[in-house]
Symmetry: C2
Subunit: 206 residues, 2 copies
DNA sequence: TCATCGTTGGACTGCACGGTCCATTCGTAG
DNA sequence: CTACGAATGGACCGTGCAGTCCAACGATGA
């Protein structure tokens, strides 16, 4: 369906524009018409590149945004071996969300809005979230190996908590238009990792 | 518009049914027609009790769900003066979200979906979140007075972090259909409070 | 018994939006 | 130059949904 270079670029342009609109107005607030207008394309192109219609387009947006989100955290996300890198990672992320008027998470908003309606999209999102969490867990393990974090702590669980904290911080920050909640929860979740080096951190319970 | 007892009951019935549908299918997946069908009412009733149409209905749902959510945490939410009560509160909340197939937060989902579209609803949600946070902050202060938590900690910031952690845990748990993320982040955010009594907890940074 | 006001029923309208279809243009390989 | 498939333009259609309107019904007080 997209065999030409030109075609691929058009297709990509559609995905990105749709992503922006979804971020700003949600899936419901994004219509094929607004996407068409923003991309200077025609109705037939939308269905040419995404035969499945809006559903398929949203799915493509989901995977694209998932990749983008990870990419935006480079290079820190793959270099979480020291206190400084974690700190840079945290600051970069806060800036990513709040710095430019984003005020929402590209995949977090999709998660809430699409989860109930489209299980297929939901699983794509879960995949992205898992990849994200895994990258963080790898960082935690590096800290453990370096003796900076309690080796008995469950790196995976800690990483899950971090991603969750991020998402929740944004949920609160979004309507409030303040970065306070995001920063508050991020610091609280990171504090034990960064400050209580070698001490017991986030021991499993429940 | 609703002066009779009968009228008030009908109106209330509409609000609650709408709330359930929004929780299950989102605002976009909830139509006046499905609400009408579920409540055995007529179109004219919907607009009789909510002249502002769907927008107003959603707003009413927002405040109603906000109250309900706090009420569901009684009596613990107003008795957070001991380790045990915090623990009961946490368990009750997890059960509330996961126990019955809820898998979403009544006001959290509204926050993400309505924030961009309707600033008015957004501020209602912020109000609910703030009330929630304040109740928790009061609990933290009681713990501080009891000498169980570092008196220098910012109770308000800690409470904000808790609400954010909850919301984020749900964002992740929803598509994944697993309570793990919610429990993981909740425990991580509560750990410092409960376990590191008297030690420095969530000191301000940033 | 009548008047009034709240409540209820449901037909109807307008339109926005997802989706279909066909015609035209463009790029390229033979 | 021709032919063919990809890319594009845009008219068109069906419908689902928010919102309107008017006609009844029911209770309550005068």
């Amino acid at each position: 369906m997209a065999t030409t270079e030109k075609g691929r670029r058009t297709r990509q342009r559609i995905i990105e524009a749709t992503g922006e609109q979804i971020l700003a107005a949600g899936i419901g607030g994004t219509t094929l018409e607004t996407v068409r207008a923003a991309t200077l394309t025609s109705k037939s192109q939308l269905f040419h590149y995404f035969p499945g219609g809006k559903t398929e387009l949203v799915r493509e947006v989901a995977v694209w945004e998932g990749e983008q989100l990870l990419a935006a955290q480079e290079p820190e996300i793959h270099d979480l071996g020291s206190w400084g890198s974690w700190r840079r990672w945290r600051d970069g992320l806060v800036d990513y969300y709040l710095g430019q008027g984003r005020w929402a998470c590209p995949i977090g908003s999709l998660a809430t809005e699409a989860a109930a309606a489209d299980p297929d999209t939901a699983s794509l999102i879960t995949t992205s979230m898992t990849a994200w969490k895994d990258a963080l867990a790898a960082g935690v393990r590096r800290m453990q190996e370096a003796g900076e974090v309690d080796p008995d702590a469950d790196a995976d669980l800690l990483a899950t908590g971090m991603v969750a904290a991020l998402q929740g911080g944004i949920v609160l920050s979004q309507p409030e238009r303040s970065g306070r909640p995001l920063e508050a929860v991020l610091d609280q979740i990171l504090d034990p990792l960064l400050v209580r080096a070698t001490a017991r951190a986030g021991s499993s319970r429940a």
